[in-house]
């Protein structure tokens, strides 16, 4: 019930980017309209589902926390080198790990996801101070990130079936290729 309450936004009939509603929508849409973010978020959920419990929920718990640290660095103006390259690399690395069905130890998986989360967070964080309602913006993109993880997890549950496992690994390969496209500038 509380999650539903916290997820509701004010009913602004004419929300045009102003106020809490506009800021929330802007933040919510930011990761969704950035394909480099979308693919990496979904890949985190996919890989977590592939690795199974407890990674299936530990990775989506660790990611927002580390992303917030990266976001805080971005807000505070602390430079992080090669942010865009790091974001593209996250899709490549996570995609390859899914495609190869790599079952790494939980600690290693957490370190990889946490490291990439810093880059994603920093990219969001640098845009936060300019947002109309920065607090609503941050709430929006954190929730959107979590929902993208959930989407990846739901898709990743297909690994329970043989054909589903092939589909998931194929999706991983596609994510890796897309990441390479972002890195090289073709996408």
């Amino acid at each position: 019930m509380w999650v539903a309450i916290l997820l509701t936004t004010p009913a602004f009939a004419h929300s045009g980017g102003e106020g809490f509603g506009g800021g929330f929508v802007s933040g919510f849409l930011h990761p969704i309209f950035g394909w480099d973010h979308v693919l990496a978020m979904v890949a985190v959920g996919l890989w977590g589902a592939f690795l199974g419990a407890p990674a299936i929920w530990l990775l989506p718990v660790a990611f927002p926390l580390m992303m917030a640290i990266g976001g805080a660095l971005g807000v505070l103006g602390v430079p992080v080198p090669a942010v865009e390259q790091g974001i593209a690399a996250s899709s490549i690395v996570l995609g390859i790990l899914i495609a190869l069905a790599a079952r790494l130890p939980l600690v290693v998986a957490l370190i990889i996801v946490a490291a990439f989360a810093i880059f994603h967070g920093h990219a969001h964080g640098t845009e936060l101070p300019d947002a109309t309602n920065a607090i609503a913006y941050s709430i929006g993109f954190v929730i959107a990130t979590g929902l993208l993880h959930l989407g990846g997890i739901v898709f990743g549950l297909l690994t329970a079936r043989p054909a589903g496992a092939i589909a998931v690994r194929g999706a991983g390969a596609a994510i890796a290729v897309a990441g390479a496209g972002f890195l090289t500038g073709y996408l």
Partner: protein, 201 residues
Amino acid sequence: MRTVAIVLSLMVLPTGAAAHGSAATMQGFYSGLVHPLVEAEQALSLVALALLGAQLPKTAHQRSFVTLVGGLIAGLGIGLIAGGAEGSEGLRFIVLTVGVLAGGATAAALGSRFDALWVLGLPAGLGLGLLTAPEAGTALALAITIGGSLLGLGLVWVYASAVGAWAWHHASLKALPIAVRVVASWIAAICLLMLALAFAP
């Protein structure tokens, strides 16, 4: 806890039967009541603290509520005497830091391992009380506004804590404790970002 939540919610349902009452007085009550909901940092920190409390063993859970209320009353009292501190950066830092710590601890399920985390209720209550202390007014108006604030903060905590306790200890669906930890991580992340925003150059 469920009974307390039901009783508290029934108390706020009736409208004031003030045939000759003061509209300004009731406005102060409702202003105090909704204050913790309209201030994002206060709502988030309170929910994080409540979710952490729900993870704690029963005695520690009760202590977290008592220290929160004690801190609230102390903060409101100090705020009344010393003057309102709404918008104070130092208090926002305290409240948001508690939100980060409580949310992070809940996400890591530390509440089930470290009873002492109930102490987070004290700085949170103190900070929230100081932030919500009303400005000058008649004694009756102040008392009613403070009553509204206490009720509002209490309702948020009780509801969030009841949901968290049910999900953590009583629900049969295994995904629910995980959902609580995920939501707690979101709250910690948002509080951390709000901290950075508050103190950005």
